[in-house]
């Protein structure tokens, strides 16, 4: 086949996919939005920064180093395009932009390894300056050695909550508190699935122990009430503890997130079939064990389709590449495929356990006060979405969007879409999958109007 395979994303999944393709003699195009390879978990600091991997990646330093080193050895043999955002799909090829230079890249197949972002739950006050997603809190630290504040609160749920708090602690910033909506009982219930990867559980427990030893209060089963602040920033968090008592924690920043949401928009633009994944309570492209989608030239790997974490992503990237090679009747040992599937199956049990231990608190969305801003791009409140649901009789999220604008702004619902759907579903009294998902449209990210096609 004359046209190349494009790998979108150069995190763990994309890197391993590219590596495997190269091993088979294909020379993939690797397009990545970041200036440097590594993805989110193994995000690299700018070239002239010199903090050691141990400091940046903690227990995962060896894996990070290996992934970076392997990628460096691929670089001369692949067509690597950093700092480049894929934004559309045309008959002529995949459209990407760097600055204002557009590239139209024909392809014979695409492996999408576009990762995930935080799943956000709006809250009164969440648009106050000083509120960040957990991912952004981590990027600030990893890429720039900056903290979001001197006494941040980390609030939400999921393992990232503790990891980020711990990373801040290690960087010399003592969090004011870690507030988790998941209760201890819920977490214990999820533990069984998680024991498939005892090492990771042990790490998590260690993060918590370190935090507690440093005097950081970890609260479970909380209910967020509001983020308090002034024009110039956050001053505190109001929350209810597991016994229903109202409490206030003073802080100068908040990092928040409730697990992850897969970045699935490119698969949607490519018209892959989607399904509602009950475990992760979100829509995602339909894939087989190895990452094949409903479209024969599109494969998916990593958190961009199934939220199973970095180790699984490496295996899934490789496996998607194997699937592609197999589909081209290139030789792939069944052992390799079986081995990778085995690795992923373990991770998958673990991910299922995690999703159970740190569930998405959909009920919080349903309970948001009417005046809470949900879509911050368009300033649409929970009350507006309920109005769309009831007075304007919108049975699904795209109708609500058309009438009241949630998800219509710069981020196209990537931040608020899941919460908006929960609010709509609750107001209609139907399960959330029934209100659908926001349709994807190009450009996937805002596109400069002065851009030009470069050959």
């Amino acid at each position: 086949m004359a046209e190349p395979v494009i790998v979108v994303g150069a995190g763990p999944a994309g890197t391993r996919a590219a590596q495997r393709l190269l091993q088979a003699g294909l020379r993939p195009v690797v397009i990545d939005e970041n200036e440097r390879q590594g993805g989110q978990i193994y995000r690299r600091q700018p070239e002239n920064f010199i903090r050691p991997a141990e400091k940046l990646y903690g227990t995962e330093a060896a894996r990070a180093r290996a992934l970076h080193a392997d990628f460096e050895s691929l670089r001369p043999h692949i067509d690597y395009r950093p700092g480049t955002t894929v934004w559309g799909v045309a008959d002529e090829g995949l459209l990407s932009v760097r600055g204002s230079a557009i590239t139209v890249q024909p392809f014979s197949a695409i492996i999408i390894a576009s990762g995930a972002t935080d799943r956000i739950m709006p809250l009164p006050g969440w648009t106050t300056p000083g509120v960040y997603s957990l991912g952004a809190s981590q990027i600030a630290l990893k890429a720039q050695a900056c903290a979001i504040g001197g006494t941040p609160v980390f609030m939400g749920t999921g393992p990232l909550l503790y990891l980020v708090a711990w990373q801040y602690l290690r960087a010399g910033v003592t969090p004011a508190a870690v507030l988790d909506t998941s209760s201890l009982a819920t977490r214990l219930r999820g533990l069984r699935g998680m024991m498939s990867r005892a090492r990771v559980v042990v790490n998590g427990v260690r993060y918590m122990a370190d935090l507690m030893r440093a005097g950081v209060k970890l609260h479970a089963g909380i209910t967020p009430q509001r983020i308090e602040g002034r024009e110039d920033g956050v001053t505190g968090v109001l929350w209810q503890d597991s016994r229903g008592r109202l409490r206030r924690t003073a802080c100068d920043a908040v990092g928040t997130g409730y697990g992850l949401r897969a970045e699935t928009q490119l698969a949607d633009l490519l018209k892959c079939d989607f399904m509602f994944d009950r475990r992760f309570t979100q829509w995602r492209p339909q894939v087989d064990l190895d990452g094949r989608t409903s479209r024969q030239d599109v494969y998916l790997a990593g958190d961009g389709v199934l939220l199973r974490g970095a180790d699984a992503a490496e295996a899934a990237g490789r496996l998607a590449a194997c699937a592609l090679l197999q589909d081209r009747t290139l030789p792939v040992a069944t052992d390799e495929i079986e081995g990778l599937r085995g690795v992923i199956a373990t991770m998958d049990r673990f991910a299922g356990g995690l999703a159970g231990a740190f569930p998405w608190p959909a009920h919080l969305a349903a309970a948001l006060p009417d005046e809470t801003v949900v879509c911050r791009c368009e300033n649409v409140t929970a009350g507006d979405i309920r109005h769309a649901a009831t007075a304007l009789d919108s049975p699904e999220i795209n109708r609500a969007k058309a009438l009241m604008r949630p998800g219509m702004g710069r981020c196209q619902g990537r931040m608020c879409g899941l919460a908006a759907a929960e609010i709509l579903a609750a107001a209609r009294g139907v399960p959330v999958e029934q209100v659908g998902r926001i349709r994807t449209a190009a450009p996937l990210k805002p596109l400069p109007l002065d851009c030009r096609i470069t050959p």
């Binding site: 799909v89 459209l95 009789d393 702004g409 450009p443 109007l449």
Partner: protein
Amino acid sequence: MNAFAREPARADVIIVGGGFMGAATAFFLRTHGLSVILLERDLIGQAASGTNFGNVRRQGRYLPQLPLANRSRDIWGRLPELIGEDAEFLPGGHIRVTTRAEDGARLEQYARDCKPWGLDLTMMTGDQARAMFPMVGPDIHTVSYSPHDGHANPRLAAPAFGRAARRAGAQVVEQTEVTSIMKDSVDFIIETKDGGRYHAPLLQISSGAWGRSMAASFGEDVPMAPQGPQMGVTEPLPYRIQPVIGSASSVTEEGVYLRQVKRGNIVFGGGRRSSADLVTKRARLDPMNTLRQMPHLARLVPAMARLRVIRTWSGVEGYVQDSLPIMGPSDRVSGLFYAFGFCGHGFQLGPGVGATMAELIATGQTDIPLEPFHVGRFQRNMEHRDAP
């Protein structure tokens, strides 16, 4: 409603298709006191009526269509009193601009010709236009200004008419696809996908791009094909651009247009259209077309070059060979009326079409000239020719 009832539902009038045309007709039929059932496959105003550019423009229209457009413009200005909301109608004017002398001459001619039809335009040089609308680019040298045209929010207008019709007593049935239309000696018999049956002595087909096969089933085929105009919107910035700005170029790709909504975003469209599919109900947005639009937009309003596009879309619209809609009574079947195939310019007409069709259906006549839109106008050619 009534989907599974044994007895068919009946009304004086059934309307098939709840786009702007169907919803507005339903509303105005109620003001004539007729009972109405409106059957919509999806949700009211979700197809062309909800995805269009939002131009409420009269200038540039086919002259004999101006009485209808003028009537519509009058209703646009009275929406709050009629249906209780304004659908964000902003009568900030409309300017057609050119960069070429020959296009300028066409504009001058049109401005003279439309006067007797009740449309007053002001011709301006580029400099005069820039004095009034400083955002207009230096390449623009002739401008035709229609001060009372403007724009509105297409996502809101048709659904608002649908709700108003329902409040006024129309039966508005959504998510109900019409699968068969027949006529016995007195009544039209309509069957829907979910097994519903509806009877009425009067029927309007206003199913937009999907109208052709319905008309054809009564032996009235028309040369019409679906296409998708290409739309987009920028991030918001402070509200400055009052008029809709449209290029009057005779070169297709240069023919872009834009409007700024109060919220601040600039909505744009134009240039090449792309394919649309009646079965999947989707019109393709070709991102290459977005790239083609960009330099021409920046020529109209140079400051736009510094903005970002945040979303693009298209919608399924029916384009008739002579670029005029199918509107008025059937040539063959009494009690049957058509209002479909509005060729990319039906949004402005929506309220006027509703009022005019309701009048025609309820009273058998209207003062608005509909002859040019008559379904029979192709009959003599159709035997030998396929649709475009």
